[in-house]
C-alpha cells in the first residue's frame, strides 16, 4: 500500500497489493474472487472492545450488544481515509502484485475503441452545440473509464438506471452514433419523440431506462426494479449511477436503506468527480466520500480509482457477481474528475483552477492510461489509433448531418403518451391547437409536421 496525493481529494491510500487487510478484490478470475468483507476497512475496531461481562450483553434486535463503562463517542472520521483500489499506475503499468482479471485482447481493444469513440462524440457534439445546431449538451470527459469499463463488466440482461453522465454504457451496448445524434436533435427517429433535452437517452431494447433530469430519483426506482428481478429469480441485477452531489439527495439515502432491507440485487455506482456543477465536495459532505456511507446502511462497499479502466472493470464485475449470487446491494465509489464543464450552460473556469482541470485532463487521463496498457500488451498501434479516430470522426460528421436534416415528430406526438390513450381534455386541446395553427401558421416551426 502506498499513499499519494490525488489532486483535490487530499491524501487517499491506493491499495493494490494482495495480502494486506485491504486486498478484498480481484484475484485472477471471477470465480476465485475473495470477498472478505468483514475485514473491509473496518476502522471502528477499537470501539468494539467491551470491558463488560459478555453474559450481560443486551439482547437487541440485530444481535447482542455488549456494554461498556467507558463513555466513548464514535469518531466522526476514521484514522485513515478508505483506500482506493487500482490496478494500473499512472503510466498504465500494472502495479506489481496487483490482482486483476485478465482481459482478452478482443475485449480490451473494444473497450479502448469505445472510450475513444465516447471522447470524440463528446468533443464533436459539444462543438455542434457551440455552433447552435443542438440546444444543449453534457460531456463525460474524464469519466470515460467508468462509463465503458463498468458497462463492459455487465451482462446485457443487467438493467441500467442511469443518471445523465453515462452515455458510454449505451454506446457499449450498441446504441449507434446515429441514435445518439437523433436524440440530441430531437428528430423523428428519436425514441423519446423530441420531448426531452439532448442527452436524455433511453433504450428499451438495450435495457437502459430513459434519463430524467432530477437528481437521484432513479435510485429508489432501481431498488424496485431489482426487487422484480429478485422475485423472477433472474440471473441479472440493476446497475444505477449517481454523482457525488446526488448523494446528498433524500432519494440516495432512501434507496440505500431500501436496497439493504429488501436485499435487492442492485449495484450503486457513484461517480465522485469532485464537483456538482460549481459545488465542491468539501461543501457537499464531510464524510470520507461516499464509500463509508455503505456500511451505515449495511451495504458492502468499495472505493476504486475511476480513472483506471481495469480497476473499474474488475470491481464492477465482482460487484455484479456478488449482487446476483448473494442477492444483495453493493456500493462502488469511483474517484474521478469531471474534466468538462457541467454542461454547455456552464463555464467551470469561474469556480475552479484551470491547472486542476489540466492536471486531470493530462496526467490522470483515463483513456491515455488505459491505452498505454493496451499498447504494452502489443494489442494496439499508432496506425490503428489513427485509423480508428479517422473513422469515428467521419461517422460523427455524417450522423450529425443526417440527424439535422431529419424532420421532427408530428404535432400529434405532443399529445400522445401522457396516458396510454389521450383522454377527452387532450383530444379537445389538440383540436383547438390545430385550429390555432391554421390561423397562425407562422408562429410554429415548419420542421414539425402538423
Amino acid at each position: 500500500m502506498k499513499t499519494r496525493i490525488m489532486g483535490f481529494f487530499g491524501a487517499v491510500n491506493q491499495s493494490c497489493f494482495g495480502g494486506d487487510s485491504y486486498s478484498y478484490l480481484c484475484r485472477s478470475s471471477v470465480s476465485s474472487f475473495c470477498f472478505n468483507s468483514s475485514r473491509t476497512a473496518n476502522q471502528l475496531d477499537s470501539l468494539y472492545v467491551s470491558d463488560d461481562d459478555n453474559n450481560q450483553a443486551l439482547d437487541f434486535p440485530g444481535g447482542k450488544v455488549t456494554f461498556s463503562s467507558q463513555m466513548r463517542f464514535i469518531s466522526e472520521t476514521g484514522e485513515n481515509r478508505v483506500p482506493c483500489y487500482r490496478v494500473l499506475d499512472d503510466n498504465g503499468e500494472p502495479i506489481i502484485g496487483s490482482n486483476y482479471e485478465q482481459l482478452t485482447k478482443e475485449l480490451a481493444v473494444k473497450m479502448y475503441g469505445n472510450m475513444v469513440t465516447l471522447q470524440m462524440m463528446d468533443t464533436i457534439f459539444y462543438e455542434a452545440q457551440r455552433q447552435g445546431r443542438i440546444s444543449f449538451y453534457v460531456t463525460s470527459l474524464g469519466e470515460e473509464a467508468i462509463n465503458i469499463a463498468s458497462a463492459a463488466a455487465l451482462t446485457p440482461d443487467d438493467v441500467v438506471m442511469p443518471q445523465y453522465r453515462e452515455p458510454g454504457v449505451l454506446l457499449w451496448r450498441g446504441f449507434t452514433l446515429q441514435e445518439f445524434a437523433n436524440q440530441c436533435f430531437g428528430n423523428k427517429a428519436d425514441y423519446g419523440k423530441g420531448r426531452q433535452m439532448p442527452i436524455h437517452y433511453g433504450s428499451n431494447k438495450l435495457n437502459y431506462f430513459t434519463v430524467s433530469s432530477p437528481i437521484a430519483t432513479q435510485l429508489p426506482q432501481a431498488v424496485g426494479a431489482a426487487y422484480s428481478l429478485k422475485m423472477d429469480k433472474k440471473d441479472a441485477c440493476v446497475v444505477t449511477y449517481i454523482g457525488d452531489g446526488g448523494t446528498s439527495e433524500g432519494d440516495f439515502h432512501a434507496a440505500l436503506n431500501f436496497a439493504a432491507v429488501m436485499e435487492a440485487p442492485v449495484v450503486f455506482i457513484c461517480r465522485n468527480n469532485g464537483w456538482a456543477i460549481s459545488t465542491h465536495i468539501s461543501e457537499q459532505f464531510r464524510s470520507d466520500g461516499i464509500v463509508v456511507k455503505g456500511q451505515a446502511y449495511g451495504i458492502r462497499s468499495i472505493r476504486i480509482d475511476g480513472n483506471d479502466a481495469l480497476a473499474v472493470y474488475c470491481a464492477i464485475h465482482a460487484a455484479r457477481e456478488m449482487a446476483v449470487s448473494e442477492q444483495r446491494p453493493i456500493l462502488v465509489e469511483c474517484l474521478t474528475y469531471r474534466v468538462g464543464h457541467h454542461s454547455t450552460s456552464d463555464d467551470s473556469t469561474k469556480y475552479r483552477p484551470i491547472e486542476e482541470i489540466e492536471y486531470w485532463k493530462s496526467a490522470r487521463n483515463p483513456v491515455n492510461r488505459y491505452r498505454k496498457w493496451v499498447e504494452r500488451n502489443g494489442w494496439w498501434s499508432d496506425e490503428e489509433d489513427r485509423e480508428l479516430r479517422s473513422n469515428v470522426r467521419k461517422e460523427l460528421l455524417q450522423v450529425i448531418q443526417l440527424a439535422e436534416k431529419t424532420d421532427k415528430h408530428p404535432v400529434t406526438e405532443l399529445f400522445a403518451d401522457v396516458y396510454d390513450a389521450p383522454p377527452l381534455n387532450l383530444q379537445e386541446q389538440e383540436k383547438q391547437l390545430r385550429e390555432t395553427i391554421t390561423r397562425h401558421p407562422k408562429d410554429y416551426p415548419s420542421s414539425v409536421p402538423v
Binding site: G202, N204, T210, S228, D251, A254, A255, F258, P423
Partner: protein, 362 residues
C-alpha cells in the same frame, strides 16, 4: 351516516365504459344498475381489503407494500394479505415515502402491479417529486418505451374529527395539476372496491385517496365478485332540476344531507359524484348544469386553488349563458387543518344548504 350511505350505489345515470382495461379479462366492468345485486354488507376498509385480496389472487405480478402493511395496516386495509400471499408479495417498507413511491415506480416499470400504501395523505409530500417528475412523466419522456402504469398509490385522506393538521388533509388538488397520473376518490365501500380494482388494472399510474372517515362508518352491500367501475366517469347519484352539486369522497354524504334538507324547502338538487378528478368527466357535469343552470362544488381542501376552482372555470367556459347564478364553492378554509376548530373549518351541511339557497335565490 351509514344509513345514508347505503343508498349511494344506486345511481340513476347509466354508465357505459369507454374502453376495456388491461389484464382484466376475468373481471367484469359493471354498470351502476347491475350493482343492485345483493352482496355482503361491509365497511369501506373491508371492501378495500377484498379488492386487494382479489388483485393478489388474480395477478401473480401484484405486490402490496408500505409502512406497517404486513400486520394489516393502521387502518386494517391489508389485514390477512401476508398470511395468504406471503411476505414476498405483501411487505413492510422502511418509513420513507419517497422510497416507497420510487420503489413502486421501479417495480411497476418491470411489468408488475405495484400497490403502494402511503399511511396518511398528509405524508405523501416527500414522495411528491417521485410522483410528479417520475411516475407522471415515465411514459411520455421515454416515447412510450417505458411506463410505470402498474403503479397505484393508496392513501387515506380527509377529516376524521380528531386528526388535526397532519391526519386530516385533502391534498388532491396538488396531484390534479399533473398530467400523466390519474386521481380517484371513492365515496362508499362498493365504489371503493370497484374503483380500486380499476385503478390497479389501469395502464397508468394512479393516486387513490381513501376517505378514512368512512373506513368503518360507511357500510353497504358489496358484491363479493371481481368487478370494476369505470374511471373518468362521473355519476349522478341524485337527480334534481334546480341546482347541480359536485363533490367526491366523504363530502358526498354531507352534500346529500344538504340536498334532502333543501328538498324540504322545495329546492330540487342534482348531486354528482365526480369519482375521478383527473382526467375528469366534464360532460356529465356540463349536461347537468345545462339542465339546472346552477352549480355548487364542495370539497374539504382549502378553497383557494382547490379542484373546485378548476371545475368552476371549466363549467363557466362551457355554460356561461345558461348559468343563472355565480358558481358556488363550499370548501375548507384557507388555513391549516385545525384540531379544535375542525367543526368551524369543514364545509358542513348547513354551509352547503345556505349556499344552495343563496344560489337558487340569486
Amino acid at each position: 351516516m351509514a344509513a345514508k350511505l347505503r343508498s349511494y350505489g344506486r345511481g340513476l345515470a347509466p354508465l357505459l365504459w369507454r374502453r376495456g382495461l388491461s389484464n382484466a379479462s376475468s373481471s367484469t366492468m359493471i354498470q351502476q344498475q347491475q350493482q343492485q345485486q345483493s352482496g355482503k354488507s361491509m365497511n369501506l376498509y373491508s371492501a378495500i381489503n377484498q379488492a386487494l385480496h382479489i388483485v393478489l389472487e388474480t395477478d401473480p405480478r401484484a405486490y402490496v407494500f408500505g409502512e406497517d402493511v404486513s400486520f394489516g395496516g393502521v387502518f386494517r386495509c391489508t389485514t390477512g394479505l401476508v398470511d395468504r400471499f406471503g411476505k414476498n408479495r405483501v411487505f413492510n417498507t422502511p418509513l420513507c415515502e419517497q422510497g416507497i413511491v420510487g420503489f413502486g415506480i421501479g417495480l411497476a416499470a418491470m411489468g408488475n402491479r405495484a400497490i403502494a400504501e402511503i399511511q396518511f395523505a398528509d405524508y405523501i409530500y416527500p414522495a411528491f417529486d417521485q410522483i410528479v417528475n417520475e411516475a407522471a412523466k415515465f411514459r411520455y419522456r421515454s416515447g412510450n418505451q417505458f411506463n410505470c402504469g402498474g403503479l397505484t398509490i393508496r392513501a387515506p385522506y380527509g377529516a376524521v374529527e380528531h386528526g388535526g393538521h397532519y391526519h386530516s388533509q385533502s391534498p388532491e388538488a396538488f396531484f390534479c395539476h399533473v398530467p400523466g397520473i390519474k386521481v380517484v376518490i371513492p365515496r362508499s365501500p362498493r365504489e371503493a372496491k370497484g374503483l380500486l380494482l380499476s385503478c390497479i388494472r389501469d395502464p397508468n399510474p394512479v393516486v387513490f385517496f381513501e376517505p378514512k372517515l368512512l373506513y368503518r362508518k360507511a357500510v353497504e352491500e358489496v358484491p363479493e365478485d371481481d368487478y370494476m367501475l369505470p374511471l373518468s366517469e362521473a355519476e349522478v347519484i341524485r337527480e334534481g332540476s334546480d341546482i347541480t352539486l359536485v363533490g367526491w369522497g366523504a363530502q358526498l354524504s354531507i352534500m346529500e344531507q344538504a340536498c334532502i334538507d333543501a328538498e324540504k324547502d322545495g329546492i330540487s338538487c342534482e348531486l354528482i359524484d365526480l369519482k375521478t378528478l383527473i382526467p375528469w368527466d366534464k360532460e356529465t357535469v356540463e349536461t347537468s348544469v345545462r339542465k339546472t343552470g346552477r352549480l355548487l362544488i364542495s370539497h374539504e381542501a382549502p378553497v383557494t386553488g382547490g379542484f373546485g376552482a378548476e371545475i368552476s372555470a371549466s363549467i363557466v367556459e362551457r355554460c356561461f349563458l345558461r348559468l343563472e347564478a355565480p358558481v358556488a364553492r363550499v370548501c375548507g378554509l384557507d388555513t391549516p387543518f385545525p384540531l379544535v376548530f375542525e367543526p368551524f373549518y369543514v364545509p358542513n351541511k348547513n354551509k352547503i344548504l345556505d349556499a344552495i339557497k343563496s344560489t337558487v335565490n340569486y
